[in-house]
Symmetry: C2
Subunit: 342 residues, 2 copies
DNA sequence: ACGCAAAAAGTGATCGTTCACTATAGTCCT
DNA sequence: AGGACTATAGTGAACGATCACTTTTTGCGT
């Protein structure tokens, strides 16, 4: 019935002041910048703080200063693995002296947008970094009161697309494969609702055409391994690609599985590429060629943008690539006969 | 230079009261429970709130009520994929009316413990759920002021171990394999600093002995795929297990790779089991037998415990198993000859 | 010794809400 | 019709810290 209530009251700044025989204001001064205190006073205050094990009440401080020193990260529930991105973002924020909270919002765009508005107006956050898009109609209201940076990969008919949607590695992979002698490509795309999926799809189409290679088309999947298998099954028997560009590693694993099902050897008959550098990809047989995405840096950059907006500083430009292609066993030269095909 | 500062001042409860021609207290009453207001008054207040687009300042409210309605989740930076666990935990908390923030703390046990203490004393959280262990010395200080529930999987010489450390699925897997005719086992353990790794190791040893099966020993790995490969390489040429129990799917993938390297067929010569039900495991060849862990429920239960502690309610007992074994291609009957071995 | 500026410390008000009371109006019973 | 209640609304203080001032102390030159 009592239990937790046995706790004695938290000491306040006044308690410290009384013990140190100074005014609260002096203690406050000590807490905010260690200056303007006589050595003797300073010592008394320090001793009192230590003795009471005092820590300032941040809520009260926020109340007076109108600053919370806390940021929120709003993210879609159940996105792909966001933890690395968060790690980068929160490290950057902490370096600038901010607390970071991660608030997840389920549901679609609308409830998420409303949640964001609610957060922005709660007075608890100075800035909000949204890793998911919000309704354009909300955005106007938002920026009036709290700095909000939206850095969305996902997108449902929304304008800005984040850096994750950059699909240039697809271009480089296809170029490399063509140089190896590949001529017939096939793409298994991710869920078309995602900007990144659409960007990869488009990059695939553009690049294959630009290089004058043949495309057996695009299978519109949903990021799942099953879609990879189905994509291969859907190919007519006289159409065998020499290389399949999968939307991500999971799809790629499905593609490899599907190819084996049809008796095609990977990479002997077909090369396969993925995306994400999933842990086990390295140990599969064949190990998976993939794109490693520097999610930490991505998160860090997004957060840097938010902080820059908050302090009215210009964000430092940074054009280091976030992507790195890792070539592994699932890609090789095309089978000898393939070059002779019409 | 100005930019964000164009924002007009947020309306306060007093502004609303003035507009509605009532006292602030009346507005406050409206906000907390919609009762005790005359319909006419209620309507005036509602109208004023709508007109000003007023939202209560939660910091100020917290200040007065001494309740923040916010919880923090402290988690180790870079743990295995925590997002599913978080999803479960935050859903449960929100159902009880709490905000949930995720605060990540890098470094080891000590910095994490200090961070936790800091959080607990910041006055911003009513309860904290730590998914990582803290120093025992800190714990005493902690519980005096803020309810803290530590639900740690990881552990360095710490007492309580979380449910993740439950290794009974290992027992069931071995029993099943023995029933299939397997007789020579081998275990590749995870990092010994983790309670879960130690529990799985111990369950392996106990069960193999209890069933009178032969064990080729335990290789102490570190959860990595490389450790799986090395474990297989380390086996002398005359010692070939019929089944390998790997600490998780990544290790299992390494084991499969290592086995192939030595010319052993999986599952023809050796069966392999993993743990975690990683996405691609299903599409590997052979697809991976594994243990699916219901992380959502785990997170939800941990949070329920915290909330129960906060409200002095008894947590509802719940003994639904969090684990489910998924049998796939990587496990099968042992090779015929193996039964004849000494 | 004196004056005067700089350094150090203190005072009262305030941030936006809610709590514990008090005051007023409306209702019902005998 | 008077009194006892209940429903509704208002008042002043308080939560814990910091801000903008004011006051006291210290240091220094002449």
């Amino acid at each position: 019935m009592d239990g937790a209530d046995t706790a004695r009251r938290r000491p306040t700044i006044t308690d410290v002041a009384r013990l140190a025989e100074v005014s609260p204001q002096t203690v406050s001064r000590y807490l905010r910048f260690n200056g303007g205190l006589k050595p003797a006073t300073l010592e008394r205050v320090e001793k009192a703080i230590r003795e009471l094990d005092y820590r300032p009440n941040l809520v009260a401080r926020s109340m007076r200063t109108q600053k919370t020193g806390r940021l929120a990260i709003l993210m879609p529930a159940m996105a792909f693995n966001p933890s690395r991105m968060l790690a980068g973002a929160s490290a950057t924020a902490q370096a600038s002296g901010y607390f970071v909270d991660v608030v997840s919002a389920g549901g679609g765009v609308r409830p998420r947008s409303e949640r964001l508005l609610e957060l922005a107006d709660s007075g608890q956050y100075e800035g909000i970094l949204s890793l998911a898009p919000v309704l354009p109609s909300m955005e106007n209201k938002l920026h009036q009161r709290t700095t909000v940076v939206i850095s969305a990969d996902f997108d449902d008919e929304m304008r800005g697309i984040g850096e994750l949607a950059d699909a240039t590695p697809i271009v480089r992979m296809i170029e490399h494969l063509v140089a190896l002698g590949h001529s017939r490509f096939f793409h298994v795309a991710g869920d078309g609702h995602f900007a990144s999926a659409r960007a990869r799809r488009q990059s695939y189409l553009d690049t294959v055409e630009r290089l004058g290679a043949e495309s057996l088309g695009v299978f519109d999947g949903d990021w799942s391994g099953e879609s990879g298998i189905e994509a291969i099954r859907s190919l007519p028997s006289d159409a065998r690609p020499t290389a399949v560009i999968a939307a991500n590693d999971l799809v790629a694993a499905g593609v490899v599985r599907g190819a084996r099902e049809r008796g095609w050897d990977v990479p002997g008959d077909v090369s396969v590429t993925g995306w994400d550098n999933v842990g086990v990809g390295q140990f599969m047989t064949p190990s998976l060629t993939t794109v490693d995405v520097d999610l930490e840096r991505l998160g860090s950059k997004a957060m840097a943008k938010l902080i820059a907006g908050l302090t009215n500083t210009a964000p430092e430009p940074n054009d280091v690539s976030l992507f790195r292609i890792i070539w592994r066993e699932s890609t090789a030269e095309p089978p000898p006969g393939s070059r002779l095909a019409p």
